[in-house]
Amino acid sequence: MSSRTDILANIRRSLARKPRVTSQSPADRLAALRPGVQPSRGRLPADRRLALFMAEAVRADATAEAVASFADVPGRVAAYLARHNLGAALRVAPLTRRDNIPWSKQPLLTPDFGPPRPEDSVGVGAAFAGVAETGTLVIQSGPESPTRLNVLPPTHIVVLRASAIVGTYEDVWARLRTERASKDGPTMPRTVNWITGPSRTADIEQTLLLGAHGPQRLHILIVNDLKDTVADGGFERG
C-alpha cells in the first residue's frame, strides 16, 4: 500500500471511533469562504484606516509618512536616505513604474530596475495593500516584483497607495480574489508576503535586535490618493 493510501485509511479508521464535533461539510466551507471574527478596530472609513495603519506600523518599529502624490516620492526618498546617511543607489521593483514616479527630479538618486543583488543597500518596492488592523504591508511576487527585494537589502522602502489600505486581513483576500480571478477561479501568486515592521530577533538573551536577516529599517511612503477615489476606498468587503 502506498503511504498516501495508508495515511488516509488510518485517518478514516481513527475518525470513525469518535462522533464528529462539527456539522458543516468541507465543500460548503470551501464554497462559502466565510470571514471569521474580524477585529472591530479595523472596521473604519478610509481616512481613519490610513491613520490606524500608520500608528500600527510605527508600533511595529516601521516608520511611515504620507505624501500628497507620486511626484513627491523621489524627494522624500532622498531626504530619508540623507537622514540615515545612506548612499544614493536604489534597487527598485519594476512594478513601481506603473506609478510614474519621477526619479529624475532627484538627479543624485540612481534607481536601478534590474534584479536585486546581495550588495544592494536600499530596496524600493510597491505594496499590493496595507492592512490597518496591524500596520501590515501586503506584497505579491510577480514578473515585476522580485520577492528577494523584501529581504536582501538592509533598508526597505515601500510605496503604498492610501486607497489600498484595507481594514482587515479578510479584506485583502477579498481584493486578491477579485483582482486575480481567472476562468479557473482565483490564482495565488507564488508568494504573498505580509510584512509588519523590520526584521528582528530576540534569540540572544531575549534582547530585541532589529535587522536579523531581513532589513533593519522599513520605511513606508503612503501616497494619499484618497481624494481621487470613490467614497470609501472601494476595497471593503460589502
Binding site: S3, R4, D6, I7, L8, N10, I11, S14, L15, A16, K18, V21, T22, P26, R29, L30, L33, P35, G36, V37, Q38, S40, E56, A60, P94, P115, P116, E133, T134, G135, S141, G142, P143, E144, T147, N150, V151, W173, T187, M188, R190, T191, N193, W194, I195, T196, P198, S199, T201, A202, D203, I204, E205, Q206, L209, G211, A212, H213, G214, P215
Partner: protein
C-alpha cells in the same frame, strides 16, 4: 532525534542545579507572559478569536482526509508535488532524494520542529549534504549540537558568552581580538556568515505553520526573514509539515494568525507571514523552480479520535511553556525529546510511546495555567491525567506509587482506620515541623526538600477540624 525522556528525573535534577539556565528561564518568565497579557488586552475580540480558532481546527480534524486530499490537488495544480510520509524514515528519505536529484551540497533551513522530529540534519550530513540552520537561535544550537529548548526561542537556555564561545569555536577565521560581548556584535557575526550560506544554497528547507486546503498554499511565519531567504534564493524549496497543519481557507488562516503571535511573543503579528503557492511562475522575477511539500504523519493519525485528539489543534505557539511552573524550573532539555512543557508532556508519549516518555505526564502540577492561556483551548491538564490513567492501567506507574495508592484506597474504604492512620500521621508531622511551620528535610522526601521547603501540616487533620466545626455531619 534520540530521546532521553526516560531520564527526565536526572535531567531535571541536573537542570535545577544549573545557575545559567535558571537565570535564562527567569528572563523568559519575566518577558513572554506579560507581553502576551498586554497583547490580549489590546484586542477585545481575543477570546472570541480563540473560540473561532478552536472551531476551525475541530472542523479540520473531523474532515482531515478530505482536506488533505484537496490540499494535495491544489499543490499539484500550482506546479508543486506532495510527498506523503508515514514516519520519520520515509520523510528523511523523501527529502534526501529531492536533495540528491538537485545535486545539492548545501541546504539552508528555516526553523522546523518536524525537522527536529525526524532528525533531518543528521541524515543529510550522513549523505554528505551540509544542512545550515538559519534562524539565529537554531544556528547557535546547531553549532553546539543541541536540540532546541523552546518551541519559538530555541536557544533560550543560553547566555551571551555561551553564544560567543560557540562562534569562536566554529568560525575559525574569526579575529580573536574582535570583541563579542554585545548581542548586536553576535548578531552581525551570524548575519554575515549566514548571508554567504543563503547565497550558495542549492535547496531551501522550511517548516510550515499552516497548510491551506483552498489554495494549496503553505504559510511560514518568522520574525527574522530567514524563511523568505530560504524559500526564495535556492533552486528548490521543500516545505516540511505534519498532517494536522491544515486549515480550510485563507480566511481561516487569518483567524489563527490573529491568536498565534499574540500568544507566542505578544506581538500583534509576526514580522513576516509568507503564503507560498507552488514554484516560480514562468514569468516571475525570482523564486525556486521546484516546490515540494513533505507531509508527515508519524503517529498523528493514530491520535485522531483518541482521548488525545484535541492535542492536534496545537499551533506550537509556546504559550503553555511560558506559563508552566515546571518548564520554568527545568527548561526544555530536561523533557528529553523535541517537544517540552505541557504540550510536550501530552504529545511526546503519543509520538514516541508511553514507556519511553513515562515521566513526562507526571512532570506537571496540573495547575491549569497552560490551558488558561492556550489559544486553541486545548485541555492539557485533562490529557495529562489521561496518560496517568493509562499508565496506571498498564502498570507503568512506579511500583511505590501503585503500592501507596493501594494502601490509600484500602484505607479510604475503611473510614475509621483512615481517620486513625492519617490523624496520627498528621499530628506526628505537625509536631516535627511545629517550630517553623515548615520542613527543610524529611525522611524519604529528599527529592522535594533539597530544592524547597515542605509546609508542615496543621496539628489536626482536615476531617477532624470539619467534624469539630460541623458537629452532626457525617464524614
Amino acid at each position: 532525534m534520540e530521546s532521553t525522556a526516560r531520564s527526565f528525573k536526572e535531567n531535571a535534577h541536573h537542570a535545577l542545579g544549573d545557575a545559567r539556565l535558571t537565570e535564562a528561564l527567569a528572563r523568559l518568565a519575566h518577558g513572554f507572559p506579560a507581553r502576551r497579557r498586554d497583547a490580549a488586552a489590546r484586542l477585545p475580540e481575543f477570546d472570541q478569536l480563540r473560540d473561532a480558532a478552536r472551531d476551525i481546527k475541530d472542523h479540520v480534524l473531523d474532515n482531515l482526509d478530505v482536506y488533505l486530499d484537496r490540499f494535495e490537488k491544489q499543490v499539484i495544480a500550482s506546479g508543486g508535488r506532495v510527498h506523503w510520509c508515514r514516519d520519520a524514515v520515509e520523510a528523511r528519505d523523501a527529502i534526501l532524494k529531492i536533495c540528491q536529484a538537485a545535486d545539492a551540497r548545501t541546504v539552508t533551513k528555516s526553523k522546523s520542529m518536524i525537522g527536529e522530529e525526524i532528525a533531518i540534519n543528521d541524515h543529510l550530513e550522513a549523505h554528505a549534504i551540509v544542512p545550515v540552520e538559519t534562524d539565529l537561535g537554531e544556528y547557535i544550537i546547531q553549532l553546539r549540537h543541541e536540540p532546541p529548548s523552546h518551541l519559538i526561542a530555541p536557544a533560550i537556555h543560553l547566555s551571551m558568552d555561551q553564544v560567543a564561545d560557540a562562534f569562536r569555536a566554529h568560525h575559525t577565521d574569526l579575529d580573536p581580538a574582535r570583541p563579542l560581548v554585545e548581542p548586536r556584535a553576535l548578531l552581525d557575526e551570524a548575519r554575515t556568515r549566514l548571508r554567504e550560506r543563503f547565497l550558495k544554497a542549492d535547496v531551501g528547507l522550511t517548516g510550515a505553520n499552516m497548510l491551506i486546503a483552498e489554495t494549496g498554499s503553505i504559510v511560514i511565519v518568522t520574525n527574522e526573514g530567514n524563511a523568505d531567504l530560504t524559500c526564495s534564493l535556492p533552486r528548490v524549496h521543500i516545505a516540511l509539515a505534519s498532517i494536522e497543519k491544515i486549515v480550510p481557507t485563507l480566511e481561516d488562516a487569518a483567524t489563527i494568525l490573529r491568536v498565534l503571535a499574540r500568544s507566542a511573543t505578544g506581538q500583534e503579528i509576526s514580522v513576516y507571514t509568507t503564503f507560498v503557492t507552488g514554484p516560480r511562475r514562468a514569468d516571475d522575477a525570482d523564486g525556486p523552480e521546484e516546490f515540494h511539500v513533505v507531509l508527515l504523519d508519524n503517529g498523528r493519525s493514530a491520535l485522531l479520535g483518541s482521548e488525545f485528539h484535541e492535542m492536534l489543534r496545537c499551533i506550537r505557539c509556546g504559550a503553555c511553556l511560558n506559563h508552566c511552573p515546571v518548564y520554568g524550573a527545568v527548561g526544555g532539555h530536561a523533557y528529553g525529546w523535541v517537544y517540552s512543557g505541557p504540550m510536550g508532556a501530552v504529545l511526546v508519549p503519543g509520538l514516541i510511546g508511553l514507556p519511553e516518555a513515562q515521566h513526562l505526564p507526571n512532570a506537571s502540577t496540573l495547575c491549569g495555567r497552560c490551558e488558561s492561556v492556550c489559544p486553541m483551548r486545548i485541555p492539557l491538564p485533562k490529557m495529562l491525567r489521561h496518560w496517568r490513567e493509562r499508565q496506571h492501567a498498564t502498570h507503568e506507574s512506579p511500583a511505590i506509587a501503585r503500592a501507596a495508592l493501594k494502601v490509600w484506597s484500602f484505607l479510604a474504604r475503611h473510614p475509621a482506620l483512615y481517620r486513625a492512620v492519617f490523624g496520627l500521621g498528621v499530628s506526628f508531622l505537625a509536631s516535627l515541623g511545629r517550630r517553623k511551620g515548615r520542613f527543610r528535610w524529611l525522611p524519604f522526601a529528599g527529592g522535594w526538600t533539597s530544592v524547597r521547603d515542605l509546609p508542615a501540616p496543621e496539628a489536626r487533620s482536615f476531617l477532624l477540624q470539619w467534624r469539630q466545626r460541623n458537629p452532626g455531619t457525617r464524614t
